[in-house]
Symmetry: C2
Subunit: 529 residues, 2 copies
């Protein structure tokens, strides 16, 4: 009995269909008359297509098809089986030929025994419970610089309220610290207003996909193999993944000629390609891009008007002396390209590096080269979730500004950091017998190629399974080792891979290698052509 108006007054509906609000078809505009017409309401449910007392009407077929399409291999079927096996081992020890599940499926260092950096945790604890900062016992329990840093951070938070929603981009003082960290890393200016703090890198990627994808006619260029966050996010937002292939033969090299070819092929099919995803260091492939290669990519994105989405969450994970991490922002600025030349988003996370603080859900994106109007829309999307968690925000500032020479914690911090990184570096070179694998230059994974005999492929087919998933499932059931099938990341057809993290503790590695080698030998014996 009245029209519905939101966001603007009756006389100000300048943009019609500003939002999809359904207007009531009746027209009296006064609240008081609302219930007068209640007799006109259709009381019988028979006009509904739903049976009146049926079971719930939501079926899997009536869900958003974009959700149904989405796949996320790192937490898929294999992990479900692993969780079941783990429960069986708990309730019935000895029920399997192995006594623990070895999760090599996901970059989750602390779940595999990696310890957090003490300084970071000291600061987080003090910020959670600031009332102990002034107590004398605290000085015995916490390092002097963690106490000082906690005070600094609290002073940056309006009202020292760590339990309050912050600015939607994150606390300004923390963004200042992060921008200073980026400047120190790159040697080029960084603006705190370009930083959007997020609950890890994943929500930041979703945010950009949400902004860029209008329909399935919008494409996003992604490396293959890729981290399935990208395929999942593109599917959820209804876009099209435009694959470009990394070349296994050249250590997973990224050739702009390949990217160009795929871009043109996409255009020929009527796809508007909006952005190029680059993961550097690579996930799952572990390659570290050469600076020259990065320059070619920047040039390409500039020329083609593509947003460069740079996944740089493994920036601290480089294991070969001949390679260095260079951010795409540094590379583009060193080429003389500024705000007006290239749209660039760099993603960083507290989950990776030597910090490995996955459970804290901290991260940021640095957003450069967008117009103020577009920035406003990015801000709006960020604001709909109010803000990211404050502990994650604090941690993001800490990883970009760790202890410095002269700080009380500096030496222990360096020892902890270097211990973690050198352990990862050692594992990165553990090639697996019977399986060919490119050297992991960076990140946290091996992505070896396995040769599967035709008989195994047939057996997989009979089980309606992809051959590499078939392999991983049998491996899990036989050894308790959890890997991710290469098909979850994409691979050249006819080739099969799996992803294995390099994270397990030193003392587990020999067992993993032995079990995997034994399994592989038995598998090959069983399925030899």
């Amino acid at each position: 009995m009245r029209r519905f108006v939101i966001g603007r007054g009756r006389n100000f509906l300048n943009r019609s269909h500003q939002q999809n609000f359904l207007s009531s078809s009746s027209s009296s505009s006064h609240c008081q008359s609302r219930f007068l017409s209640s007799t006109a309401v259709i009381d019988s449910p028979s006009s509904s297509s739903m049976a009146p007392t049926s079971s719930p009407a939501i079926t899997v077929d009536s869900l958003n098809p974009k959700v149904l399409k989405c796949e996320y291999a790192v937490r898929g079927e294999i992990v479900s089986i692993a969780q079941r096996l783990q429960q069986e081992l708990q309730t019935n020890p000895g029920s399997h030929s192995f006594d623990e599940i070895l999760y090599c499926n996901i970059g989750n260092p602390q779940s595999l025994g990696q310890q957090p950096i003490t300084f970071f945790r000291e600061v987080l604890a003090l910020c959670d419970h600031p009332s102990i900062l002034d107590r004398s016992e605290t000085q015995g329990l916490f390092s002097a610089d963690s106490i000082e840093r906690a005070w600094q951070i609290l002073d940056q938070i309006p009202g020292r309220a760590t339990g309050a929603y912050s600015h939607s981009q994150g606390i300004k003082g923390l963004r200042d610290t992060i921008a200073a960290g980026i400047e120190a890393r790159d040697g080029f200016p960084a603006d705190p207003n370009d930083i959007f703090l997020t609950d890890g890198a994943s929500p930041a990627v979703h945010m950009m996909m949400q902004l860029l994808i209008r329909s399935e006619n919008d494409g996003i260029l992604c490396p293959i193999p890729q981290y399935p966050l990208y395929s999942a996010s593109i599917a959820l937002h209804g876009g099209t993944l435009v694959p470009y292939y990394l070349d296994e033969a050249t250590g997973w090299g990224l050739e702009t000629s390949e990217v160009k070819k795929q871009l043109e092929a996409a255009k020929a099919k009527g796809i508007t390609v909006r952005a190029l995803v680059v993961i550097n260091p690579g996930n799952p492939t572990g390659q570290v891009l050469a600076e020259e290669n990065q320059r070619a990519i920047v040039e390409f994105c500039k020329k083609e008007g593509l947003v460069l989405l740079a996944d740089e969450v493994y920036q601290e994970n480089v294991y070969v002396p001949e390679k260095k991490f260079h951010s795409f922002k540094k590379v583009s600025r060193s080429m003389g390209y500024g705000e007006k030349d290239i749209s660039l988003v760099s993603f960083q996370s507290v989950s990776k590096g030597y910090y490995g603080e996955c459970g804290k859900r901290g991260g940021y994106m640095e957003v450069t080269g967008f117009s103020p109007e577009v920035r406003e829309q990015i801000y709006k999307v960020a604001s709909v979730n109010l803000c990211s968690n404050i502990s994650g925000q604090i941690l993001a500032s800490l990883v970009m500004s760790p202890p410095k020479v002269g700080d009380e914690s500096y030496e222990s911090y360096c020892a902890e950091r270097d211990g973690i990184l050198s352990s990862l570096a050692r594992h990165a070179f553990n090639s697996l017998e019977g399986i060919t694998c490119n050297k992991a230059e960076g990140a946290m994974y091996l992505f070896p190629r396995i040769q599967l005999p035709e008989k195994a492929i047939k057996a997989a087919e009979a089980e309606k399974t992809v051959p590499d998933a078939f392999y991983c499932r049998r491996l899990l059931n036989a050894t308790g080792i959890v890997l991710v099938p290469g098909s979850g990341f994409g691979q050249v057809p006819g080739t099969w891979h799996f992803r294995c993290t390099i994270l397990p503790q030193e003392d587990k590695i020999p067992a993993i290698v032995t079990r995997l080698t034994d399994f592989h030998k038995n598998f090959m014996d069983k399925f030899r052509n």
Copy 2:
């Protein structure tokens, strides 16, 4: 030069278009041949519609129109003006007639001086930095029960790794605690497998909208006025908000006859209504639903096959003795309805209640009455973001299981809790002179109605602004008080409101009332017809 296959092998593409991956149009299937054809690549960028060295191609007009449609008033234009004024006050004290900005726009208690509950923060700090748990100084700094609780929680976390990604639904032991808390609250069983821990309630709401909305032909019934998270989320996911009006004349009453009428009107327009949102206690309206009313809503949803999305984040915020909070799950179970009868999602958050821990981004949804296949899809969407932050997860378990009689912290906990709730209750009854307002029975807001003279409406029109936003902007510029215009929540056309939190500290309230009253008087004098 090769086909792209992901997620399943070449021979196993049973469901075609499983995801929108663009296949390269060429057909050779071997990696080795990849670069042989590179001469066939179109090198000239002239075929592109982008100018070769133009500025970035992303404009606001080429963004996802769903994002452009989305509005989020609680962080909209008024807040931007407030942030600018605050900066001006900082850099140039005395530049305005007020000396501070009073944020009454958002339920953000700790930003207005509310202190966190000590016990909760003690536990969080100890879980962040467990290595101090065994130290003797810790016993002097922390309560015995917080130390004990931290141990309990750490024992529930695999490997005591608070820095690891958890199960995508959240740590199982914490979900056990939450389920036990729900059982104690409702007197009906709760299953930890029904709990999905989330970074606050907002991502949980987005998740459900993402699952339910397929196109603009899918509708979600929402109360008007509503919390703009709902309109924003429905817009972002491309659905249609089907409004049902709360009746201001009867204290913002919710009549199922009105809901029924709107449902039928929507159906007549070809909209498939999928779910009904109920916010109880109400936001921004503050009403607490009577149990009888809730039963009618449950009956309605069951009959019509609608998912009941119950926003119950203000369950601890009830200020009138004659009203009690009853969860919709309790109500439906007490009617004899179980899993097979009604699909029900209850949202809870650590941001509200007496805890007010907005910055921690903790919360959960309890999901009941969906088939295993649908549950699997909900799990998949949750898993794409890996997990919610662990501190938020811990806090969600704490608010559902606070200290008990006999615990060392019990008395101080009760004193802190009761102090906060009684302060809120006092503010809830502060009616504002010159403006009519329903009693706030619950939640954290007043939603008063303002009578605006025709001359003010004309003046707003001249400024291309909605009249209530015009009012709020002038109020902010004159007094530093930040309110949210009613148009951000929806209101019956021709009526104007604003939302004001009841959160400011005791000592600020008189100033707010005085300034608001003076402003209102001057405003009316200026614009009197």
